[in-house]
Symmetry: C2
Subunit: 326 residues, 2 copies
């Protein structure tokens, strides 16, 4: 029974090819129908502007599974605290014993979300990316840049954000820490039109990227939309998609970016391909260099289980963490 | 952020008046409508004969709440392991921060279940108990003896079990550790007929206690029935009850002992009084010395939150546990 702190987990599980491979394998299991994902347990704290979500997922082929508890208390900033917090517990799927408590404070969710972006880009983006366009300037935008860089050669990165200061800070970070030339684009249309791959990582509640800005070969991943009232892509983006993909169809059509297009009648939900089916070879992620491809990532439990297993394995190999016996 | 091991928790949270008071206060909150209890998250592991249940409950008046993860892997005995395991996490209801991880291995569930039995006996049993009859010989049977002893003067304890050896072992334990004369009853009818208070703590799937064995003043608590296929009390027990009580009506009529009586048409579910309403004075637990009273305890999340809060408070006061900073 291992207990790992956030600082240990940050050292043990950086965003890395291993993280991408772990999450990709999770999607492969999902695509084969080999994953059980029960409905989320949710509890609201209206008086504190807060909520907790508890998620679990089990791949039958794996000998362990994770339960993730995520809290979001949106008045925490007034107290100088981050709004997101939480932890994961890894259990044996053979004996039910708790194997590890991962006190990650939400960090592993950042990594597994980035890894899903990398998997989408790996299987759907054009082979070479001259410019990667990033919409959004927060932590996940930075991780999504690393995600695409992990799976594609990229010549330069263009950043767009509502706050120019934040946009410049992200461009500087990309140039310095990722070693790829980066600049800020003042216009969103310009950014989309000049970027072969576009990733949106914002909490937007009205569409940012328009379908008319896309051209042959474009790939777009929307990472920010995980609630019915959020939207990053114009429904015309979905209408123009030759391949319209998502992580989990049932969830995407309820709360993902694509659900707006389904509701508007421009996207038949049966056309939505699941990433797991692409990764496992059942569906084509990019049928031709000219295809326009779009992916809607809402987040699913098997990503958490995959990253928790990786963390636990890395900790055992490094001899890190407190090993507790009852 | 406190981490407490099972051995620490066993020392910090014995079955005690404090545990009974904490769980009673939980039921009082429940009775006032001040508790949110979302549906249980459940995941099955058919290949390992296992399951995990995740429960949470929040009393609006309290500044913290627990999430409990309980596993039951019923082939573990073949590996020399207990079938039940699990842990709890206590969170701040103000900021969502995890406050404590309680690696109790299921121990706190034993205590909070015993405490509910004590609350039922406190509010429903006759004032004086000549003989307490216990049906079942497992760990919870021993805790239920302690539960009734905590709230009523008891002259003697009678034990019935399918395994005579186990029954004698429990009687010996009661005599030695609780200091109350105890004997084994060979006949179940004799045990029920001669015990003013009867507690059933078995995994029985067909009724053990019959309604015709009851007489004026009897109180019966069924603690073992937490699934639709389990049953400890004959439906006639419920038909004879002047007060028919349960912990949570919606759950009892789905999976509690009383649900068989409801299904058989001998108990109107509207007659089922909730323990929280008794504890908070809205309903009468024992209207007269002659009344026959019956209580169906299926277990509910606010018991877990109550006991987790008590454990955390006891640990802080005793300076026990590992205090981790990220």
């Amino acid at each position: 029974m291992l207990v790992l702190t956030e600082s240990e987990l940050r050292r043990l599980v950086p965003f890395s090819p291993a993280a991408v491979a772990a999450v990709e394998e999770g999607f492969r299991q999902l695509g084969g129908g080999g994953v059980a994902t029960p409905p989320v347990l949710r509890l609201d704290f209206p008086e504190a502007n807060g909520e907790i979500d508890v998620k679990a997922a089990h791949a039958y082929a794996w000998d362990s599974f994770a339960v993730k508890m995520s809290t979001g208390f949106f008045s925490n900033a007034q107290r100088g605290l981050p709004s997101a917090n939480g932890l994961m517990v890894l259990f044996s799927a053979v004996t039910g014993e708790p194997l590890a408590v991962l006190l990650d404070g939400g960090y592993l969710t950042t990594v597994r979300t980035a890894a899903a972006g990398a998997v989408a880009a790996k299987w759907m983006a054009p082979a070479a990316v001259d410019t990667l366009g990033v919409v959004g300037t927060g932590l996940q935008a930075w991780f999504q840049v690393q995600a695409v860089l992990a799976v594609r050669p990229v010549q330069q990165v263009a950043v767009w954000g509502r706050d120019a200061g934040h946009a410049h800070a992200l461009a500087d970070r990309v140039a310095q820490q990722a070693g790829v030339p980066a600049h800020v684009c003042a216009g969103l249309e310009e950014l989309v039109a000049t970027s072969g791959v576009v990733v949106t990582a914002t909490p937007a509640k009205s569409p940012l990227v328009r379908g008319e800005w896309l051209s042959a070969g474009h790939h777009v991943t929307a990472i920010g939309t995980d609630a019915p009232d959020k939207q990053e892509l114009d429904v015309a983006v979905w209408a123009r998609a030759d391949v319209a993909a998502c992580d989990v169809r049932g969830q995407a059509v309820q709360m993902g970016d694509s659900h707006h297009a389904v509701a508007a009648g421009v996207l038949d939900p049966a056309r939505l391909v699941e990433l797991g089916d692409i990764v496992s070879g059942r569906q084509m992620g990019r049928p031709s260099p000219e295809a326009i491809t779009v992916c809607d990532l809402t987040g699913t439990g098997i990503q958490d289980t995959a990253i928790a297993r990786l963390a636990c394995q890395a900790a055992r190999e490094a001899g890190v963490g407190m090993d507790l016996r009852p």
